[in-house]
């Protein structure tokens, strides 16, 4: 069995120490310089850390392409999966609790897409001014067109009584011919009515 617990003799250690104290000689300086220069020259390249290796990998073109592709795909998926805000939400029943005054600027700020965008001043206009002004260009346009239609539309035909009164007025004015023409037209409109009898009754009541 090997005796690993070697206990040196103190006298022997004294001898070894004596030799150590008087030992001399050392390698030449040129040899030192040669070996140290060789060590520095042939030292292995420093091993980069995990983080540095990851950065280096990112700087390689193929990895850049890979990362850019992954980022692009992720962006596209995010855009596709992102649910757009429904347009009905602005005018949905959930917003019915808003007062009419609050809804009015909202409608003014969100015109139909087919119409030109309103001027920014319209959006920030106070509510009183909005109340006086037309709610929207479309609304003012509708009013104008309604006025036009009322002007260009033909007048409603007079009623039977009005027609009879007109005939009596023409007769009193001596325009019997015109009165007869009116009576003929009135007769065509109301063929079942006894127009002469009604004329007499109307004339009597007028007198």
């Amino acid at each position: 069995m090997i005796d690993s617990q070697h206990t040196p003799d103190p006298n022997d250690e004294l001898l070894v120490e004596h030799f150590r104290q008087h030992a001399s000689g050392e390698p030449p300086a040129s040899l030192d310089a040669f070996i140290l220069a060789a060590a520095h020259r042939e030292a292995p390249a420093p091993v980069p850390s995990l983080w540095q290796r990851w950065l280096q990998a990112c700087q390689r073109p193929r990895w850049q392409m890979a990362f850019a592709t992954v980022a692009g795909v992720a962006l596209m998926i995010g855009l596709v999966l992102r649910s757009p805000v429904p347009q009905e939400k602005l005018s949905s029943p959930a917003s019915m609790d808003f007062s009419a005054d609050r809804q009015e600027p909202a409608v003014a700020a969100a015109p139909p897409p087919a119409m030109p965008a309103p001027a920014p001043t319209t959006r920030i206009a106070p509510q009183g001014e909005l109340a006086r002004a037309p709610a929207s260009p479309m609304q003012s346009l509708a009013e104008k067109s309604a006025a036009k239609m009322s002007k260009s539309a033909p007048a409603a035909p007079p009623s039977l009584e009005q027609g009879l009164m007109e005939i009596l007025r023409l007769r009193e004015a001596g325009q019997t011919k015109a009165a007869d023409e009116k009576l003929l037209i009135l007769h065509q409109r109301f063929p079942k009515e006894d127009l002469p009898a009604r004329l007499e009754a109307l004339q009597k009541s007028a007198e």
Binding site: N11, D32, A39
Partner: protein, 190 residues
């Protein structure tokens, strides 16, 4: 648990050099250059040969990616490389390897009558006489003593390095020291 300010071990310095830290090699070299050089000079008894083997040993360490194997310390590993290089040199140049001589220590044992404490304290301090006494030692005993002296190796480490049984190493060292005591003892004036 080692303190935070403890100097790094030889093995950690070598590992750091292998990872590209050139400064670690300078520390390692500064620690072992004197011991290894003096060991080789004393063992080969030729300064030029010692320098050549010294250089080859360090260059081999620089260019190799190997590490001390098993439980071997860096110091044991370094001196083993140097010893193998010296033996290779002797073989290459046809020099008989004195370290491989079979040597019967018992034949060289002489009574150590002069090993009194007074005489041990009055060993010769003459450098030439110290060197001469070392060269008188048989090669096997000299090698063990030099590994203990310049390598600061323990006996089990010397046994591992030389491939000799521990008991043989112990006896070689004991005989070497007895002989050196006898050779270097100075007469104490009465």
């Amino acid at each position: 648990m080692p303190a935070a300010l403890d100097p790094p071990s030889d093995e950690s310095l070598l590992a750091r050099y292998r990872n590209g830290d050139g400064a670690s090699f300078e520390v390692l070299y500064a620690r072992h250059r004197l011991g290894l050089y003096r060991f080789l000079v004393a063992l080969s008894n030729k300064a030029e040969l010692a320098e050549e083997v010294f250089q080859e040993t360090w260059l081999s360490l620089i260019r190799s990616a190997s590490q001390p194997q098993g439980r071997a310390s860096f110091r044991t590993w370094l001196f083993q490389i140097a010893r193998n290089r010296l033996i290779d040199h002797w073989r290459k140049h046809g020099v008989h390897n004195p370290l491989h001589d079979s040597y019967d220590e018992q034949l060289h044992v002489q009574p150590d009558d002069s090993a009194s404490p007074e005489q041990q304290l009055s060993l010769s301090r003459d450098q030439a006489r110290l060197d001469a006494a070392l060269q008188v030692l048989p090669e096997d005993q000299r090698e063990v003593f030099l590994l203990r002296l310049h390598g600061d190796l323990e006996l089990p480490q010397i046994a591992t390095l030389t491939g000799a049984p521990l008991e043989t190493v112990k006896s070689r060292l004991r005989y070497a020291q007895q002989k050196l005591h006898r050779l270097l003892a100075e007469e104490v004036p009465a």
